[in-house]
Structure formats: structure tokens, C-alpha cells
């Protein structure tokens, strides 16, 4: 259920109040950015994608039920937007994992963690977009199978099947991880 503040913002945005929509952007931009970042593998592209998500959300705001939470709806638009961008794109290793750093570890541990993260991100990038989406939603966003199926508007069986296949692929490629 949407909080009454967020519901009020949605209703004001529906009446054309762009300040209200700006507040909606501020409420959700971090979560959507994290999702887009993991899907696309880069900060600049993720920022661009999130802006596109909000513009689409504004355009289709009439179709949104203000009594429902906005997060899942925005997540679905984000996943679809990112998947559209990924279609036909060659996997690109994230250049932004230069910013990834382990907290409070020494230089050697930091370097090891950094390498591991680069490798994980690279393997994530290699996955087909559909598999990448379910892995990110399950393991990084922490959603259940049912939540993922609801967010992506796909049957539960398909989500489980994609998730299990994606896991098998990743565990084969990362077999040497201890």
C-alpha cells in the first residue's frame, strides 16, 4: 500500500504538478539507479536509463493506480528499459568498478576484493539480459520469486527456470571461487 504522502504526490503529479513528480523522482532515484547500474554495468548509462524510466513513468502515469506502491511499477519499467538497452549490445565490462572498494581492509585485501568484484560484474555482464535481470532482482535486490514474477509480469515458473539456469551458468563460470 502506498504511503499517504506518496499517494498525495502521485495525485498531484496526475494533475500536472511537476514539483510533486520531482519529489517522486527523489524518493525512488537511488533504488532505481542501483538496479540500472547492475543491469547496465556503468554509472553514466545507469543515470541516463533512470532518467528515461522517470520520463516513461510520467508519460504513463495515468495508467498507474495511485493506491498501489510505486516501487514495483518503477522497478518493472527500469528492468524493461535496461533490457531494451542491452538487446544486441555486446557485453561490456564495467569501467566503473574502479570505484568499487572493500571497506576497512588493507591494500592487499582491497585488491583481492576488487578483483573478485570485477570478475563478478564481468560474468554478470556476460549473461543474457533476461537472466541478468532475475539474478539482480533475486540476489542484489533481495526479492522473492513471487515478487520478481510480479515485477516483471511473467509466470512464476518462467522466473524460476531462468533463475536456476542463470545460477548454473554463473556457478560453472565461477567454479574456482572459494
Amino acid at each position: 500500500m502506498l504511503s499517504s504522502d506518496e499517494r498525495d504526490l502521485v495525485l498531484r503529479a496526475l494533475r500536472g504538478d511537476q514539483d510533486a513528480f520531482g519529489e517522486i523522482v527523489q524518493l525512488h532515484q537511488q533504488a532505481l539507479y542501483r538496479l540500472a547500474y547492475r543491469m547496465l554495468g556503468g554509472a553514466a548509462e545507469a543515470e541516463d536509463a533512470v532518467q528515461e524510466v522517470f520520463l516513461r513513468a510520467y508519460r504513463f502515469l495515468d495508467s498507474f493506480d495511485p493506491d498501489r506502491p510505486m516501487g514495483p511499477w518503477l522497478n518493472r519499467i527500469t528492468v524493461n528499459t535496461c533490457m531494451n538497452r542491452l538487446q544486441g549490445r555486446k557485453p561490456v565490462s564495467s569501467m566503473d568498478d574502479e570505484r568499487i572498494r572493500a571497506a576497512e581492509d588493507g591494500p592487499e585485501r582491497q585488491a583481492e576484493a576488487h578483483d573478485l568484484h570485477r570478475r563478478l560484474l564481468r560474468e554478470l555482464d556476460r549473461l543474457p539480459p533476461r537472466y541478468r535481470a532475475v539474478i539482480i532482482l533475486r540476489h542484489i535486490q533481495g526479492m522473492t520469486y513471487q515478487q520478481i514474477a510480479g515485477e516483471l509480469h511473467r509466470p512464476l515458473g518462467d522466473i524460476k527456470s531462468d533463475l536456476f539456469r542463470a545460477r548454473r551458468l554463473l556457478s560453472e563460470r565461477l567454479r574456482d571461487l572459494k
Partner: protein, 221 residues
């Protein structure tokens, strides 16, 4: 020994197996080295993903998004625009009358002539072919035709709902409205042949548009 399926291992990892199945899987894992290895490998990989640092958005996207939002506003008909629309409709009507004269046979040849009184005996005769015929001579006569053609509303409702006092009340209100409208409109709009009556219709429609479509805040989805 039957090993755990992929689905069972995954659902065990996610903690979504039914309690009975979970216990059976646990017992199996205790005794089966290969399945334990498969589960451990999955667990290591996914613990690693879950440990990925969370990227933080450093830029506030709200101003950037706002700058790109299309303007949502009600479409406001100014009197000048309404006059232009009325003139355009008038011109269209003038053109249409030539086309209709050239293309269509006499309306009495093809419009139905069944009087409405066949269905509602208390109504006066109403033959659409004769009523709408003037429109095919001059399409600009649409408003006078509509006002004069139909039986007055105070006859229609009681004919359809003879026992209803509500229908009598509504029919009286409609009759009052019908009579007021006919008497208030200027003569060129209620009587004959002028293309300027469409200009009047255009202006009336324009103000109706403003009244019906404008929403609070001046914006429209």
C-alpha cells in the same frame, strides 16, 4: 541414490521448500557429498554477489528529469481560436453541401420513413426523411434542424416511461431548457440559411470545451 534436482537445490538454497521437502533435502545433503558440493558452490557464488558494494547515485536527477518533462496542460480555447474553428467549420459546410448534392440522391429515397409513433403511439408523427432533408440542401442548417426536428422532450420521456413521476419531472425540466434555448439563441442560429450559424456553433463548442475539459490547476492528463 537419487540426487537432488536442480530445482530442489535452488529452492533449498532460497529457503522456499515445503517443510517436509526441506527436511528430506537436509537429510539427503547430510549423506550425499556431490549434492553438498553443488549446494556449497552455489552458495559461495551467490554470497559473493550479495556482497557487491551498493553503488550510490551522486547526482540528483530530479532537476534533470523535470527539465525534460512535457507540459501537461488543459487545451484552452481562446475566443480567437474558437472563431477560427467556427469559420473553418462554416467553410467545410459550404464545401460539403456541394459534395452532398452531387453525391447523394434525394434523402426521401433512402432515409427511413417509419414514423416514431409506430413504437410510441402517444408521440406525434416523426419522419426522419422529411426532417433531415433541409440538411442536404444546406448543411449549415444543422442547429436549426436539430432544434426543430425532434418532438419536444416533454413528450419523449413520459412516452417511454409512462408511470414514472421522475420522467415527468425530467421532461418538464428538459422542456424548459429546450424552450429557453430556442428563445435565447439569436435568430440566425435558429432559423434559416446562413453559414454563420456554424460560426456560432463553433463558439458555443469552444466555451463548452473550456468548461468541461479544464481540470483544477489548469492541467490535463
Amino acid at each position: 541414490m537419487n540426487h537432488l534436482t536442480d530445482e530442489q537445490i535452488n529452492e533449498y538454497l532460497d529457503g522456499v521448500l515445503e517443510p517436509g521437502m526441506h527436511l528430506a533435502a537436509q537429510t539427503h545433503l547430510h549423506a550425499c557429498e556431490p549434492c553438498r558440493r553443488r549446494l556449497a558452490q552455489l552458495h559461495i557464488v551467490f554470497a559473493a554477489f550479495e556482497s557487491l558494494p551498493t553503488p550510490a547515485l551522486k547526482t540528483d536527477l530530479a532537476p534533470l528529469v523535470r527539465a525534460r518533462l512535457p507540459h501537461r496542460r488543459g487545451f484552452v480555447w481562446t475566443p480567437a481560436f474558437a472563431a477560427q474553428m467556427g469559420a473553418a467549420l462554416g467553410a467545410l459546410a459550404w464545401a460539403a453541401q456541394f459534395i452532398l448534392r452531387l453525391r447523394l440522391p434525394s434523402p426521401s429515397a433512402w432515409l427511413p420513413s417509419l414514423p416514431l409513433s409506430a413504437f410510441f403511439p402517444s408521440l406525434p408523427s416523426f419522419a426522419p426523411s422529411s426532417v433531415f432533408a433541409p440538411l442536404f440542401v444546406n448543411p449549415a442548417l444543422v442547429l436549426p434542424t436539430l432544434l426543430s426536428a425532434f418532438p419536444t422532450p416533454n413528450l419523449l420521456l413520459p412516452a417511454i416511461y409512462p408511470q414514472s413521476s421522475l420522467s415527468l419531472l425530467l421532461s418538464s425540466l428538459l422542456a424548459t431548457l429546450h424552450g429557453s434555448l430556442t428563445s435565447l439563441l439569436p435568430a440566425p442560429l435558429t432559423s434559416a440559411a446562413s453559414p454563420f450559424d456554424l460560426l456560432g456553433i463553433g463558439i458555443l463548442c469552444a466555451f463548452a470545451n473550456v468548461a468541461l475539459l479544464r481540470k483544477p490547476g489548469g492541467a490535463q492528463a
